[in-house]
Symmetry: C2
Subunit: 242 residues, 2 copies
């Protein structure tokens, strides 16, 4: 069992650097906090190291014991955390399946995490995010997925290429849009479908909307505005596989 007590230790500095996207990308590593996410990461085979300030919490000898000050430096949580896992980034798979969620520029990490969690709940096969969507390995994204990110492939792709390729394979691609759109009732469920949800302020890019086979809107009165994670939940529920 390794012990580290210095805040200046090179490993501590490297782990702390994973709070920044740039360093996560460079090393291909990210941190998860708390027992539940560490277990999920271990099950997914990507857990490298467990860090704790309480040796009693370590399940085997392959852990690193640090001081509470080091835990505090590594944690992004307000309340104190006693287990942090260092993980290798999940390998990207290829886009596949009969229910695909596509996110075009979602900016809020909580929304991204919640959408991934919902996609798993309704048995979607994969999630595709555009290049300008918020980072999957942002601590708030990870927390909002509640571990679901380890249960579904999430790929960062060029959406034009992906949607064009899906259409060639016979996947019906549907963009959400309040204008010139059909209601969900008017678009029956079919064998293979992909749904594009957009940025919190701007929605789906007009060029992506034009590329898609259909535009759908959620029937509602009045306020005419739903949070993107709520809209995604209603759409994924409505078009879920049986």
């Amino acid at each position: 069992m390794e012990m580290i007590t210095s805040l200046q230790n090179a490993k501590v500095k490297r782990w702390a650097s994973y709070q920044k996207k740039k360093d996560r990308d460079k090393d291909g590593r990210f941190l998860v906090e708390g027992e539940h996410l560490i277990e999920e990461a271990a099950r997914a085979g990507i857990l490298e190291t467990v860090i704790t300030d309480d040796p009693a919490l370590l399940k085997d000898d392959h852990g690193v014991v640090v001081t509470p000050a080091i835990m505090h430096k590594l944690s992004m949580n307000v309340s104190s955390v006693h287990l942090i896992g260092v993980c290798r980034k999940i390998k990207e798979a290829s886009v596949f399946g009969s229910r695909i969620l596509i996110l075009d520029g979602v900016q809020d990490p909580g929304n991204l995490g919640t959408l991934i969690r919902t996609a798993v709940s309704f048995s979607f096969d994969c999630v595709v995010v555009s290049k300008d969507t918020v980072d999957l390995y942002n601590d708030k994204t990870i927390r909002s997925t509640q571990g679901a990110m380890f249960h579904i492939p999430v790929m960062r792709c060029d959406l034009f290429e992906t949607i064009t390729a899906l259409q060639k394979e016979g996947v019906m691609c549907i963009a959400t849009s309040l204008e010139e759109s059909k209601t969900m009732k008017e678009i029956p469920s079919c064998e293979r479908m992909a749904f594009v949800l957009g940025n919190e302020g701007q929605g789906v890019h007009p060029e992506i909307q034009s590329l898609c086979d259909e535009r759908v809107r959620i029937e509602m009165h009045g306020f005419e505005s739903l949070n993107v994670a709520v809209a995604g939940g209603i759409i994924m529920y409505s078009y879920r596989k049986d």
Copy 2:
């Protein structure tokens, strides 16, 4: 037009105190940030004062011009805000209507705000929150409602009393629950309905579940866990008024 330049000014101190629930409750006042929320508050007739560090943004003479340092002290936002409104708390109405959302201990301000926004989108008549639900006037709640809190009555009530009273009036009260529950398909829509959603970790209190007429769950495979705002969105969409 009043001008304030000192961070020690009594008004500045009082406004800044509204960042705490205790002081919001004492004075019956709260702050909103940004043009959109200020306009909504004005339309709702509860806007008292507009504070800005840019006199050009004031639409009439009834505003207070302050320094950027004072704006920074008053704002809860990370990025800089140039308009802050001081509002009187909204007067609580009585519980009424044919579609009522009831929240039993929701803790995350973002979830509360999103649920209120969704309730307005699907023409719900009012929202009832339990005594232990997070504060409506929390800045994150206000931001997540996107102004919807000014379009629907939100009441803080004892849920036992409220549900019992609603049932006497013939409102069908339905609690969400993963166990011993019916699917949405098994509970047809009826004239007057109230839906109870629970705390992020524990769900609806068992005693409240027992009190309700039905328990409902959202059909899903696999992960068996949805964010409460997403679950609420699916339920409100499914049982919306025509």
